[in-house]
Amino acid sequence: MKITFMLNDRKVTWDALPGESLLDFLRRHHVVSVKKGCDGSTCGVCTVLMNHKPVLACTVLAMRCTGEHIHTVEGLADEVEKISEAFGIEGADQCGFCNPGIALSLYALKRENSNAEASEIRQYLEGHLCRCSGYQAQVKAALRYIGGGQS
């Protein structure tokens, strides 16, 4: 069946399969920034913003998104570029498979708490597994982004 929702501030009407998760639905429609890393709600790489809050796209039924606002990194390029600058400066980029999801959570965190400290960042990002880094550079990059480019 067709569902209509707001994807990155644009109204779209796409077909959804019965029981299809938002993750599979978005990837099938070639929104490939949303990654699949596990069999359900354990890794964080499929994070998207639903009505400006981070959610795991694998745990949301596509049908449930009718009329809702979904944001992915494609729709927040200006903010994501700022996050990426901070990652670059801190050497926090590695394979990058988890980065789109982390970027969305960091964007949401900054909106919720523009003074977030390292311990709050670590707590907020705990659901984003990363096997490449030791996490520390990500925290430094997050502090830099939240601090408006300063570390």
């Binding site: 990837r27 070639h30 929104v31 490939v32 920034s33 949303v34 990654k35 699949k36 890393g37 596990c38 069999d39 354990t42 890794c43 790489v45 992915t72 990194v73 494609e74 390029a77 994501v80 570029e81 996050i83 990426s84 600058e85 990652f87 670059g88 400066i89 801190e90 050497g91 926090a92 980029d93 590695q94 394979c95 990058g96 498979f97 988890c98 980065n99 789109p100 970027a103 960042i121 670590r122 707590q123 990002l125 705990e126 659901g127 984003h128 597994l129 990363c130 096997r131 490449c132 880094s133 030791g134 996490y135 520390q136 550079a137 990500q138 925290v139």
Partner: protein, 773 residues
Amino acid sequence: MKVVNQYVPSVDGKGIMLGRPAFTDDLAEPNSLIVKVLRSPHAFAKIKGIDTKAAEALEGVELVLTHKNVPQKAFTRAGQGYPEPSPHDKFILDRYVRYVGDEVAAVAAVDEKTAEEALRLIEVDYEVLEPVLDLETAIDHSSVIHPEEGIREMFPIGFEPKRNIAASYAMHVGDVDETLKSCDQVVRETFYTQAQAHAMMEPHTVNARMDYQNRLLIYSSTQTPFHVRRILSQALDVPISRIRVIKPRVGGGFGGKQALHGEMLVALTTLRTRKPAKMVFSRQEVFESSYSRHPMRIDIALGAMKDGTLKAMDCKILSDTGAYGEHALTVFMVAGSKVLPLYNKVDAVRFGGQVVYTNKTPAGAYRGYGAIQGNFALESAIDMLCEQLEIDPIQFRQKNMIAEGESSPIFEIMGEGTEGTAMTMETCKLDTCVQRGLELIDWHNKYPRRILPNGRIKSVGMAIAMQGSGIPYIDMGAATIKLNDDGFYNLMVGATDIGQGSDTILTQIAAEVLMTTVDRVIVYSSDSDLTPFDTGAYASSTTYVSGNAVLATAEKMKLMLLEEAAKALGCARESVRFDGQVFTTDSEETITLSQLSNRLYYNEDQQQLTATASYVGTKSPPPFMAGLIEIDLDPETGEFDIVDYVSVVDCGTAINPKLAIGQIEGGIVQGLGMAHFEDVKYTKQGRLITNDFLTYKIPTQQSVKNLQTEIVHSYEASGPFGAKSVGEIGIDTPPAALANAVYHATGVRITSLPITAEKRMAGITAKKGEQQS
């Protein structure tokens, strides 16, 4: 240096964070057939009959593959140089299944649901056999895991499949037994290490299509695209010229993708159906049916004199390769060859043992590649020996460890499944690493423990480690640099970026030589049609081997440019200077690189300038490090926090210091996961219980409070701009450093990994019992 050893952000970081299609599954053909695998529910069984009629009849099913309709030619999935030091003991699909999760059959269907439904319709009649689930009883077990004909070793590796032995090895220098007898103190201990999971975030992914030239085009999340092409060609009997393998962005590998996983079945599907096909491993498949680290039992004996001179080391290992012998011998050998030379002044050293088959998830390459297992045993035993000798373990290490200008006979004796290569340590700043590590963690005020007012205990522990930089005379890297109009360059490398940043650091090397900026060098890597050969991302080889190839290529390009500039300016090459942008003659006539390039492509002496060079190492200079940990432990329960982990590393020149630190810290945290909570559990029937991120925990943001990481000044003359490797060394020290810190806090010596809360608690309870009685 203007580009090398400077701050340069990853060349691809922004595009990837912005979500541009980059990873293998992002690049699959729309409407690809979905390939799914029916996996064995039994640890060991023979397929007596398999009925696929109902599955084949299901609408939307395009192909069903079983052992009855695929080529039956043994190969190894291990992505290694040819001939491989791994036995050819794997068939695409086989009459035997050898672990829970092994491949029984494959289905290709129009969508996932249909493929899954078809799997349910396949009827298999199994003769269930008694599995071998314990490495210590595997040899000469009544069950023979590989009884089939047609399997073989490519050269002598001690392959005895009828005894469940995949490989065996022995070496010695001096008389170990006599030397141990003459020692004042001998420590003997047995250590166990577990089958750590790679748990890279991107699951193993592959897709295939026939291209417009009717060639097989494969996109694969592999660490070894050129080995994938060769192995596919050999096993499927397709001319290698008809196959193109592209490695797009890879989401982490750590050795787990140094092999073929779905490639064979997806390639076969596309060859048979002529339709695009794809496979993405589920997370359960990544855990159960890809690779793990080789679990080992390590028996070690060390002998020393009262004055603190280490005299003898004896190391016997039993390694578990699981159902297939991939990387069996070479991982085993690295547990000696990149561990024992740390203490190079001994009179006698012995190393040997077997790698056995069991009916478990196959083990394969994994960051550290044996060194982390060997390091845990050796660096724990060194602390135990020092305790018995009542000698400070730091002073003992400083007295006995390898130093600059020294060598070890082990380098010449032990290579990658073959003989090794003699070498002297031109750079070894291990002494500086230890000294600086002690300062950073404030060792002298913290060793061995402090009892806090709240009753908790803070303690420290440490270990030293070494690794290698590529495999001498085997690992080859090549690069091509192409000049474009306006004077920018393309850099084509076979080297495989799997997230470690090799595209960035290789670009930096080229830019440094050509005296330009990173944005004027456009890198493209790992496409078997378009880039030159490279053995791949493994054995800590890329910076040293591929980096040297890029260095040589850029030097060649520079000479070509000078030659052409001299022609354009009408003078001898020797009288032209180049600063990266402008060529200047002795008489101060000039032409810019942009002008020269445009001249070459549009106006005069028209020609394409392209330089290619290769590099194969004649040695493997080891990086070294000291790892020091501080923990805060509750003596009642054994629960602890990791307060700090200090790493001081000699990796030669860091081409990109921030990315190098990222490699070290990533290795440390992965090693800490192995050290204390990444536990691997099987049922009695041999099914892996820890097969998702709920049952198998990997470190999170909250796991380590603080990391301090420093790179010491070091310049390895044989490396590009003085570089050695940095990809693996970070993972080696955490198990022993943590075991030593736990001992300092509790007096409990834990000899099996992971050092779980249960083991710590049990040790503390037993210790209290001893004290009371």
